[in-house]
Amino acid sequence: MSDSADPILEMQALCVTYDTHGRVVHALQDASVTVSAGEAVGIAGESGSGKSTLARAALGLLPERVGRITAGRVSIAGVDVTRYTPRQWERLRGRPLAIVFQDPLSFLNPVMRVGAQIGESVRRHDPHADAHARCVELLELVKLDASVARRYPHELSGGMRQRVMLAIALGCRPRLLIADEPTTALDATTQTEILALLRSLRESLDMSLLVISHDLGLLRWNCDRVYVMYAGHTVEHGRTEDVLQRSAHPYTRGLVEASRMRRRADGRFATIGGDVPDLHERYRCCPFFSRCTQVMDVCRQQIPPARGNRDGHGARCWLLEDGRE
């Protein structure tokens, strides 16, 4: 899917660390993600894989003084924003990229009416528009009644709050919408509704989408391409069906197996053995080696190089060196 215009978001070999009181956590190690115009991209991974950190790094929202980009590059529409100061970020955020978080009750200001919060977004990015009218427009867009504007966040249901968050993000008129676990805090019915909403918005607003989730099913139905993350690394990427059905990386395979919830021959569910990765060290080898069923000596010693095919399906695994696709 090549495009002559710059990708809206490009992260190359990004390394992010969190430093609290001397204890350093390497949240992202050599992560690379690209989203171009009109695409719907997904990021899959368990908790601790670095997916949320990636989303925050994309908007310069890493915690002050604690989170830092130590290596790599982030570009938004061709502009290198890796070293942006908070001031520069203030001016940039919203228009090219907007983000929607999960568990919206804590993500909305509890003492401000919902309409005011949406209005804030509008006024910031559309100073000449009639904020009130646009707010109503946005509420309709996310299928909420205009009367919701006068309510406070705690008076709304989870699904409604998530829609409000969407409205706030859309008020920025973003080219790319990042959705960090958009349905995790919701019940199954509401999940489907929100996803349908996202899909229709994408089409009607010609907006790119970056969906972050641990739910592979969600990603399968909504994304053209997908990245798989483990221990802060992007271990596999490609078209969704390539990655999920013809997985190249053992971790992806394990994830897919586990998500199917089918029993194995011995009657047990498929799982990935071992413990969650320790992020206090920078990995000089494959991060998955301790849990991989096909681990080889070289896996423990060196970082596997990135290998890919012409369809854009790639992974970082020593198994691929043997000539396997």
């Binding site: 940039l92 509890p110 804030e120």
Partner: protein, 326 residues
């Protein structure tokens, strides 16, 4: 909201009743002849003593006594101060003005400065500015106010002779107009400073920790993600939320202002309720002591009620269900 306020109002009334009972117990249950408490140690004419005994029914069962006590209170009869030759209620009302003139400006100043200091400190949390400001508020919180008063007097009133050391007005005060105000202001500076220092520290501590907590809340992330400027994030999102607990503290401060005034008024001979309280002790003018106790406690109840109102106005979540404890 109305239901919440009604339940608070009801409870406030119950508490006032409780305070009255405590006041009654103090004067009647404690060892010694209750008459002394009601009349005071000051020599009183014997017919008055008999009259008091009769009025308060001291020869009757406790429950009747309580009834009579309450009835007297309702009539505004808090006893008579022989030392001051006035009914206690009148005396208290007279002196209350001076205390208000001392405390209210001090509390307002302390609240405003306290919040300003807290905002500064919270924004630069963990760094030099924060340590200095937090240190200042810690000192203000730990200094014995009567010692501070002494130091201020020695430095400013004696050594430098810039400001008066005692009283609210000079002996030769201009009768009316700007001159009076200036005279009052000059006298206010030192005692006002003492009071402000302490309450500033209290407000700053609460405001700072509240702000620090708010700065790490998720909704701040959302606000930033919208592309809002740091100023907008601070004022519209962080402050609006962090000031809510500060309202409670400021309300408490106003409520307890009578207590806070006592020591300062004594050292500076400020003619308010605080110094009245102290002189009444040394003169064993018990009716006045009991009256001031009642007033102080009721003031707290009223202040708490108003604070609850303001809190409910500020935080919409509270209006939905009455919390078990505000």
């Amino acid at each position: 909201m109305a239901r919440y306020l009604r339940s608070r109002l009801l409870w406030a009334c119950v508490m006032v009743v409780g305070i009255v009972i405590v006041g009654f117990l103090i004067t009647h249950i404690l060892p010694g002849d209750p008459v002394d408490v009601l009349v005071g140690d000051f020599p009183a004419p014997p017919d008055y003593v008999t009259q008091v005994r009769h009025e308060f029914g001291l020869d009757q069962p406790l429950s009747t006594q309580l009834g009579l006590y309450v009835a007297n209170l309702a009539r505004g009869n808090l006893g008579f101060s022989f030392l001051n030759r006035q009914p206690v209620l009148e005396l208290i009302l007279q002196r209350a003005g001076a205390t208000l003139l001392l405390m209210v400006p001090a509390l307002i100043l302390a609240s405003v400065l306290g919040v300003m200091i807290a905002v500064r400190a919270a924004r630069h949390a963990g760094r030099g500015v924060d340590s200095v400001l937090t240190g200042i508020s810690l000192v203000g919180y730990s200094v014995p106010v009567f010692w501070l008063a002494q130091i201020l007097i020695v430095v400013f009133a004696v050594k430098l002779a810039w400001l008066p050391a005692q009283g609210m007005f000079s002996i030769r005060t201009p009768g009316t107009g700007l001159g009076v105000v200036a005279d009052y202001a000059k006298h206010w500076v030192l005692p006002g400073a003492c009071i402000t220092v302490y309450y500033l520290a209290v407000v700053a501590r609460v405001a700072r920790s509240s702000m620090l907590e708010m700065l790490h809340q998720d909704f701040v992330l959302t606000a930033r993600a919208k592309g809002l400027s740091e100023r907008a994030v601070l004022w519209r999102h962080v402050l609006r939320n962090s000031l809510i607990p500060v309202i409670t503290v400021i309300g408490y401060n106003f409520g307890y202002s009578l207590t806070g005034a006592i020591l300062t008024e004594t050292v500076f001979a400020w003619p308010g309720l605080g110094s009245l309280f102290i002189t009444s002790i040394s003169n064993r003018d018990y009716p006045v002591l009991a009256g001031i106790f009642l007033l102080a406690a009721v003031a707290v109840v009223i202040a708490n009620l108003i604070t609850d109102l303001l809190y409910a106005a500020a935080d919409p979540r509270v209006r939905v269900a009455a919390p078990a404890a505000a």
